[in-house]
Symmetry: C2
Subunit: 339 residues, 2 copies
């Protein structure tokens, strides 16, 4: 193989919003494989807010080492194999990182995410969004942590993002009133018109605590939170009795401003509310349940899978950055190779 293996290395710990300056471009020969290994040609990269966190601090995985390929969920095709379970030509998803080619021995990234064959009939972008970590996060976070009941009011922050847009639609399937919190009028419109949310709030131009009071006159029963900080605080001020808050992400805090003044935790006592953090990795043994349900709803037209595509491996840092500047609509992906 004479082609190069292009990639992005983690070069700097991010302070503030993540961007191109935190990575270093690398070109090297395409690696060769040993016994028990296979080579993947990456085609699509998944952009996830958690990547920003992996770059900075120890979490459920040790923080990423400087000088190594930036970690990311991805999907591609097996192009060489000395591994008994993976054959050349098979489509696979895994955490193959920001590079054209990756060698895998089939072990799980961080002990959490193993390489998986993408089922026939599923395209890689869908495998990385609705049927991937994104869809599973939405499914288990809303249903297992939030436990919405028909007729209840569900509020979703980051409602126009990858996870949030699926959460909104699952909540509608379950017969809930759904209010999306987003940044900007375009996303508001999209959440109302395309996701069929009952209402949407633009936190950038509207007074969030007041608008939550108006749109949730009986209080919030379930809050699915991707944002944290002031958005979480505003929701805490508007809880119904027995409210459940599913803490999925803290996008507001990932860019460094983590010590936001939270003033309304006391309301958890008055309203007997619950805040529960979760990680999708704890639910992976039930992945088939979620994928089956999501596929069913998608087939019935009840869930749309919106993806937002940036072209080119060279633009991966910009694509990741879009999550934190709020530019993406739906699931942010990077397409790095044609089929």
């Amino acid at each position: 193989m004479t082609e190069k293996n292009r990639g992005w290395l983690l070069a700097k710990r991010p302070i503030g919003i993540v961007g191109r300056e935190h990575f270093e471009w690398r070109e090297e020969p395409v690696p060769s494989i040993g016994e028990g290994e296979f080579l993947v040609r990456n085609r699509w990269l998944s952009c996830d807010p958690a990547q920003r966190t992996w770059m900075e601090i120890d979490t459920y995985i040790p923080r990423l080492p400087l000088g190594e390929v930036m970690a990311a969920g991805s999907a591609g095709v097996v192009v060489q194999s000395k591994h008994p379970d993976f054959e050349v030509g098979e489509l696979v998803s895994g955490a193959f990182g920001w590079q054209d080619y990756a060698v895998s021995d089939g072990s799980a990234f961080g002990g959490l995410v193993p390489p998986l064959k993408i089922p026939t009939g599923v395209d890689p972008p869908t495998a990385l969004s609705l049927f991937g970590i994104t869809g599973l996060t939405a499914y288990f976070g809303l249903l297992d942590v939030g436990e919405p009941k028909a007729g209840e009011t569900v509020v979703v922050s980051g409602a126009a993002g990858g996870v949030g847009s699926i959460v909104c639609q699952i909540a509608k399937v379950k017969g809930c009133r759904v209010i999306g919190i987003v940044g900007g009028a375009r996303k508001c419109r999209w959440v109302r018109e395309e996701l069929n949310a009952d209402d949407a709030i633009d936190y950038k131009s509207e007074d969030l605590p007041i608008r939550l009071g108006e749109t949730c006159p009986n209080g919030i029963d379930v809050f699915f939170d991707n944002v944290g900080g002031e958005v979480l605080d505003a929701a805490l001020a508007n809880l119904a009795v027995g409210a459940r808050i599913a803490l999925c992400g803290f996008v507001s805090g990932y860019s460094g401003i983590r010590r936001t003044a939270i003033g309304n935790l006391y309301n958890l006592i008055l309203q007997r509310g619950t805040v529960r953090g979760f990680l999708v990795f704890d639910y992976l043994d039930r992945a088939m349940e979620a994928i089956g349900a999501l596929a069913g709803w998608a087939g019935e037209g009840k869930i749309k899978n919106q993806i937002d595509v940036v072209e080119g491996l060279e633009n991966a840092p910009d694509a990741l950055r879009r999550l934190f500047t709020g530019e993406n609509l739906g699931k942010q992906l990077v397409k790095i190779a044609d089929e």
Copy 2:
């Protein structure tokens, strides 16, 4: 009856720590009763942090009106009765307020706390502490919300207070390691020696986040929080996977500084932690279960019921203030009349 009915009226909404300046002394004739009513001679008043909140804001009850008798849990004896269920000479507990005499028609304070006969053999101070709202709060908050398992590490803030001191002891009964957080060396000693806590931390003279790390090397499994604010934040930084936080009170916030910067909520995601607020009123239908268990443990010498008594109705404002200056050891009561 020629005796006067002395009492304290709520005169001002508190800002900062509550004290004598927020109340007005009143003397009036002892009230007479109508059909279906009974007259109680108050003997003991219960001091509870929630009273500070009732004075300031609407909660599960509308905030207390200015110019009316300050609300408080209390215990006394029926001295006149035209009520079929209450006889002269019976000991009763209820929310009869900061006054010598109160008329009751048997209805529940705020729809929550009805007048109850104190069982034979239970003295009023015990009825207002271990077998009252205080003991029930400790019992249901720790066991139903915190769900501690034997061998787990339980941390209790306000550990030398009325609720906290009982929580520590129930956790020991359940086979947990118990760390108490208190203010001052005297309370540290008391929590270690009298409550048999495995360790105690003086948040005033020690670095709480660091000491929590030292005393809970495997993280906190259950945090029973009476304090909120920085104490809660320090606990959030030291959670074990699957930690449960029972939010009982927010004493740090009751004196006005409610918008404390909470920086570690994100850790709820990493550790899959749960924060749950509760009100004891939701558990009153199971009061007998709790009282039975608490009485059993007290009988076996496993739970000591520590009370802290201020003498005289005229000193009720000072007694309440003690909860917020941290002067009380165990349950704060006011004795206002002899038997």
